[in-house]
Subunit: 249 residues, 4 copies
């Protein structure tokens, strides 16, 4: 393992995987393992990946774990309300001080994402085996590395506009669905020193996290969200700053 | 006519309308008249609308016309290269000093738009009677006033991503097409003091400019692009500015 | 009063005004009255302005008041923590469904603003009679109407970077201070259908809200933040949307 | 030299350096050598740096040189009009297909930059030994890596707002000057697949390119502007795209 490896924590609520045979069949070791595998497969020694799940003490997201996480990925759905506010505060605060955050699919309604966005993050949805086409609209963006102009996910839950998010700083992917809907499915945001990427593909009843392009996008996002600046100053308080305070930084 | 009416000039190359019977049937008075009618219909006394066309001297865009235009709309296709560079320079310069510009459909490749964008403005296209669905992705934006969450244009030329434009300052509409393509079809930009809106619907062989929603969007865009700030200072030169130059503005 | 007048509610915590003789001298009727006067002075019949204050029941921000408010302005400082979470939730929800919000000066740390931003909104500050120069960096923006390239506030509290906000959708003003600091003091955001403008000038011990340019900026911001789109749909839930749901909107 | 080294070409008009003894004293080998040294010093084996100057055939920017350049830096001032349009077209086209571009100081008025921006890029200026303070306003951005919250350039040419550029995709640095001016001096743009960074410090009569922080910013910008996506498709034409064209990319 490289000393400069990016420390990734794949967080998963791990509910459907234990309760729904359809999901178990696709993800026998849980969706988090598929996500972790995808990141390792693409980034190798450049990352050090572990997982954490809802049922663990403090949901596996202790102060220590977060302090040693450079990029956190988040998948939740049935258990959004089971995530303790104390942990949510800790995650949001860590994002603002520089931890990258990759929010996947139904994580759009998770507590950390909605708090960091300041909006409802609501959208239209339908489970009807729509074909999704993911279009690259920012081909020079590092998250588009190795991704074709368009790629197809044969069957997906439809996620459609209006998606109630702040306008993203950068929009990288837009999806279409067989039914005619569109969706801003690949969006970059910054909150404090933390870089956030939302990526919509990923319903639990389809093998989306086995898809080569989806895995590549998430891996690219890990590289993008990793905060190389790592500024030593924080912004958790408002310093009273005498004239000339900045002269010897 | 109100004294404070917004002075709109609808510019049209007016080529297909004179040469193609299919276009003549849909737009017997030319597409520019349909556009002008749509704006008058929605905005009434709030606007004063005239038209100008390619075949006129200086393409109808003399210094005087431009000086007395608050918002210019632009439709071109077959005649992009017939537009004199001198007129293009004048249009771009007038935009930078505060004239609004609404670029329609195939105007994406027009000289003024590509020069103001700094990119190729290329895209994918197909004439195959695709159904277009226009989705509102910024419902609080003034250009979305009176526009439903989605509206349908039953037959349209497909315009698809990658659309080579700079990231818009605000993205208001995204379209999907029957073939599965998506397109950032309603985009806001600013260049200097000029506000620019690109709106993609509008192929000449379909009655798009008779569509109620399309007319409403263009009319809303006229209101948005009209520069109420009308700052007296220009930015056509770099002033050498002594210490304190700004103390008595 | 015009039937289409924009209904403005000027909210103020009204603490310093009642406790600090320095503030009383500058604002004998309270800062909220100066703000309300400034808006009326500039917009006349185009607005209908009322005030609401912290000490009123529900802080003067009942469901009914908010339902009948198009644009809310917010000034708070000493009493941020005294604002009831229930009222904050109501304000944020009303913003997302289309109420404009203008946050002034020390309101940067208010509950509504920090929740809508998703960041700490911290900054550097100093009370030392710095001269502030406010620079227009988006002269074609409607909020810059009638505002010179730069204007001076002779004495002000210094607010300096790093200001921990999400990157604004549009940046209209940047301030400098005698001490050498800079500040993104005029910032536009959108959250849901609500348009938000943060404007930094306004310390309570200086007569900033009597300043002609400051009053003009706030008045321009009222016009900008007023949601003319007024879309009937809300985004407080995620609708399950069958195929073709959008065909007859 | 690493096989994956980023290939940087430092372009310089090299006029003041040969004509002005003040400049020669500060930059005995030319400003381009100081810039190249700064990049090598920070990035070592990660880059392969060469220089090119105005007086060379084709200004040193042949098809071959550009094809083998990942990131181009540009400094010009007295010689903007001496740069051949043919070379400018080539540079702009190469940027759109993925070459990074870093435009320095007076390069704001260069042909490549103004064409890629679509605006005048004018600004206010003064040569009066102002102190410049460069403030980081996006501390999580990779270009801010290792840069303090603020750093001081003791003497600089003043560059002040209004700076007539399109709103940057990301704003990283804002400068203040002793005279009270502010300037958006660190701005990110994208044009096509090319990433562009404008950085304002750098007047020829001051030792700015010997400054540790300035060198670090330029080096960080090289890493940021290097297009890792390197998409094989270009956007120099508008492909007619039959239904299903994207199904086997």
């Amino acid at each position: 393992m490289s000393e400069t490896a990016i420390r990734v924590t794949v967080w998963h609520e791990n509910i459907h995987d234990r309760e729904d045979p359809r999901v178990q069949k696709i993800y026998p070791n849980g969706m988090h393992q598929a996500m972790a595998d995808g990141i390792r497969e693409n980034l190798g020694d450049a990352v050090q990946v572990r997982t954490a799940t809802l049922e663990q003490p403090q949901h596996g997201l202790t102060e220590e774990v977060l302090a040693n996480t450079d990029v956190l990925t988040w998948w939740g759905h049935a258990g959004h309300q089971l995530v303790a506010d104390e942990v949510v505060d800790r995650v949001c605060q860590r994002v603002r001080t520089g931890m990258g955050l990759i929010v996947l699919h139904s994580g759009h309604l998770s507590k950390p994402f909605t708090r960091l966005m300041g909006t409802s993050c609501c959208l239209h949805w339908r489970e009807a085996d729509d074909r999704e086409v993911v279009w690259t609209v920012n081909p020079g963006h590092p998250i588009a590395r190795g991704i074709p102009q368009a790629f197809i996910i044969p069957q997906q839950e439809m996620y459609g506009e209006y998606f109630d998010i702040p306008q993203p700083d950068e929009l990288v992917f837009i999806s279409s669905f067989s039914g005619g809907e569109v969706f801003r499915g690949g969006c970059c945001f910054t909150r404090g020193q933390g870089r956030i990427f939302y990526f919509s593909p990923g319903h639990e009843t389809y093998p989306v996290y086995h898809d080569r392009n989806v895995r590549r996008v998430i891996s690219n996002a890990v590289l993008w969200a990793n905060n190389v600046a790592r500024q030593p100053y924080t912004t958790t308080e408002c310093p009273k700053s005498p004239r000339g305070w900045f002269e010897n930084l």
